[in-house]
């Protein structure tokens, strides 16, 4: 469009051709290069930007009407002053900050994560966000898989939209409550509820609801207790076997190397003293050292309760009726976890010494999915695995064991020795 530019107009000075991929390529440039913005043969035209700063209101309306009339309004992105960044020279990649975040998340997701998601899984965030702002004609700074560096470490807490959109059970749902709390719930609290699911079929719906005792599953979260218990778990078992020899233990060094006076050398009493090369270590680690200590029993119990409550609060706890799986195939479990958007690593807990064979076989070869009996539950494993799956019997067992500590007498002697009234 003629306006404030000098030289021949753009539309007269260029010959355009459609390339095989469907883009527009400059086939030849007529006239001087001064009026043609430095375009050469072979350049592919992706878009054109108009700066509305010096134009009058009528001119702007004329331009917009032209674009409307020819049906180009979908390809147009209108920028307001808020959208513009400091330099006017980068007009083509300016978007609102929320859109830029979405775009960069989008491209990261597409580049790294989309490959691992199954095609039929619901809720593909990439597709939903592609519509709207840019239609692919404008080049963004991330362009496909090659743009990301290969040693980029994606944080594992990238938000999974599909997980976030799973609603908690409403208070008036039609599904039956499969289990009520055995112990008495305090009057000022009410039980927390979650779905009960099955592992029978990948896409089966929830069977019902389950009531969880608030003093075990809805405890106020104290991260310092979790930290203490985690450190205890790491250290009480630790035995450091670092050992160095002292000067008396190193072989040799009983004789005085040379006489005290007259030899011109420094005075020494043995060749294995710590200042000598090959001599003993004066203040080194000595022998197997242990770092054993015990936290009070109630602190460890409280740690377990807090871990369970935080798993429930963050939607990472699932209750399952039994652990019966149709096939011992590990791929079935992985499919189920991906489909239901549970998370990366799963810890499955069941009561009893004999667990179903299928699930044992399936999880044997899997690294991030593990089954443990309920006696083996602990804070470190709950923090290491992202998702916790409990069976109904495991919930009952845990509530029973953990609630007893709230109303028990203190120890007179260790619980190992017989008490008349202990269960």
């Amino acid at each position: 469009m003629p306006g404030h530019r000098r030289g021949r107009s753009l539309s007269e000075g260029l010959m355009l051709e459609e390339s095989e991929k469907g883009g527009l390529v400059v086939s030849s440039v007529i006239g001087g290069s001064s009026g043609n913005h430095g375009l050469k043969e072979g350049d592919e035209i992706v878009g054109a930007t108009i700066n509305f700063d010096q134009l009058s209101k009528d001119d702007v309306l004329k331009i917009l009407k032209l674009m409307d009339d020819n049906g180009f309004d979908k390809k147009v992105q209108v920028l307001t002053k808020n959208n513009l960044s400091k330099s006017m020279g980068t007009l083509d990649s300016i978007k609102a900050p929320e859109e830029m975040l979405k775009d960069s998340y989008n491209s990261l997701y597409n580049a790294k994560i989309n490959r691992f998601m199954k095609d039929d899984s619901p809720g593909q965030p990439a597709g939903a966000w592609e519509r709207g702002s840019h239609n692919g004609q404008l080049a963004s700074s991330f362009s496909g898989e090659d743009a990301l560096p290969s040693n980029l470490r994606i944080p594992s807490n990238l938000v999974d939209r599909a997980r976030a959109e799973r609603p908690p059970p409403p208070s008036d749902s039609s599904l039956p409550v499969l289990r009520r709390c055995d112990a008495a719930v305090p009057v000022h609290l009410s039980p927390v509820q979650t779905w009960v699911e099955t592992l029978e079929r990948r896409d089966s719906k929830q069977l019902g609801l389950v009531d969880l005792h608030p003093d075990v599953f809805a405890v106020p979260t104290r991260i310092d207790i979790l930290h203490e218990v985690e450190l205890w778990q790491r250290n009480f078992k630790r035995i450091s076997r670092a050992h160095t020899k002292v000067r008396s233990e190193v072989r040799g060094g009983g004789k005085k190397p040379w006489r005290q006076k007259g030899s011109g050398k420094a005075r020494h009493g043995s060749i294995r003293s710590p200042i000598w090369r090959g001599g003993g270590v004066s203040h080194g680690p000595r022998g197997p050292t242990s770092f054993y200590y015990m936290l009070p029993m109630r602190v460890r119990v409280q740690g377990l309760k807090i871990a369970l409550s935080s798993k429930l609060a963050q939607d990472y706890l699932h209750v399952v009726d039994t652990l019966n799986i149709p096939t011992p195939d590990p791929q079935y479990l992985m499919d189920l976890i991906r489909y239901r958007h549970w998370g990366e690593s799963v810890l499955i807990v069941d009561v009893g010494e004999e667990l179903p064979e299928n699930i044992l076989q399936a999880t044997e070869s899997l690294k991030t999915v593990n089954v443990i009996p309920a006696i083996g539950l602990n804070v470190h494993s709950m923090l290491k695995h992202e998702v916790l799956v409990l069976t109904l019997e495991a919930v009952k067992f845990l509530e029973n064991k953990l609630l007893w500590h709230d109303e028990r007498f203190t120890l007179l002697y260790p619980f190992k020795l017989p008490y008349t009234d202990l269960p």
Binding site: F236, G376, N378, S381, K384, H385, L398
Partner: protein, 128 residues
């Protein structure tokens, strides 16, 4: 005087040419950073059997009717399982529990060390 000036100019030009052929030496900070000597990050598998099963059965007392204690889970020398102390306490405990089974040279070294530590803790320093 003009002869001298000419000689000086010739000398300066000679110096220039010799300077251009000498080695470049820099004493800045950039040459201390050796980009080709940065080691690679070691690849650690966070999900081995040991790492994924760490901590299981640590609450065996609370959840398991108190028939076992977590200190029974510790793997190590007998005199150090479920016990924490300084070097003298550990050595005397070792002598009590395992002393009659030890090799002669080791036992002799241990007794010398106990003697030294007893004297060190009970006769020297601020805390005795």
């Amino acid at each position: 005087m003009s002869l001298l000036r000419g000689l000086l100019k010739a000398g300066v030009s000679l110096c220039h040419s010799t300077l251009q052929t000498t080695r470049q030496i820099s004493t800045g900070v950039c040459c201390l950073v050796r980009m080709n000597a940065i080691p690679e990050l070691k690849k650690v598998d966070r999900w081995t059997e040991k790492r994924s099963m760490f901590g299981v059965y640590d609450n065996i007392g609370i959840l398991g009717d108190f028939k076992a204690h977590p200190k029974d889970l510790i793997v190590g020398p007998v005199w150090v399982k479920g016990f924490r102390g300084n070097e003298l306490q550990r050595l005397t405990r070792k002598k009590r529990m395992v002393g009659d089974r030890m090799m002669t040279q080791d036992k002799h070294d241990m007794e010398k060390r106990i003697r030294f530590l007893y004297r060190h803790f009970n006769r020297f320093g601020k805390h005795r």
